[in-house]
Point group: C2
Chain length 112, copies 2
């Protein structure tokens, strides 16, 4: 089973909007209906739904329709993969700094 590889364009873009990040925050506390999600926001329902759909396309949210109610949940696989990208680059930078510092230390010791 391969590690989930998201479309990083989509996941980072989905996270670039404060309303969508707030939606994710709400869903981390547990599944919620579309109406639940809409309550804290002062935007029209079709606008909120558009955000939810963009989060679904990014793989961050899943939703299921039962009767007239659509319930949404967070799906952390995409968030994890996004996090892996960030971690890899932070680590690469830090590793390079550590190597440079060790090299400088060795040069100082050779100088004495």
């Amino acid at each position: 089973m391969t590690k989930y590889e998201p479309d990083l364009d989509r996941t980072f873009f989905a996270l670039a909007d404060p309303t969508r990040r707030a939606i994710i925050g709400l869903l981390c506390a547990g599944p919620k209906t579309v109406s639940d999600l809409a309550e804290p926001f002062d935007i029209a329902l079709p606008s909120l739904l558009k955000h939810v759909q963009l989060l679904e396309k990014a793989g961050i949210v899943t939703s299921e329709k039962r009767g007239r109610v659509r319930t949404c949940s967070v799906d952390t696989d995409a968030l994890r993969a996004t996090d892996r990208w960030l971690q890899a680059h932070i680590t690469e930078w830090e590793t390079r700094l550590e190597r440079m510092e060790a090299h400088i230390q060795r040069m100082k010791e050779n100088e004495q």
Copy 2:
């Protein structure tokens, strides 16, 4: 000294473009001039510069002009803070799942 708190709108948006993520990848290997950065890409120099400037506004890149050459470096503070946001939400979700699983286990034990 307070922990660096970036504008998450900007940092996630900066990361939502493949060209900008590639620029970050290049800079994680070490500082580079604008011309260095432009080489691997098939876009006009003003377009590449626009990307670099957006990364600077997001706090992910810093640059310094010396003579006619501008040298860019990565600055991982913004990447770290972005990562903290992701980690916090992944953790919140996982903590909630663990609690639910423990609760279900207890109910099963009480049933027997």
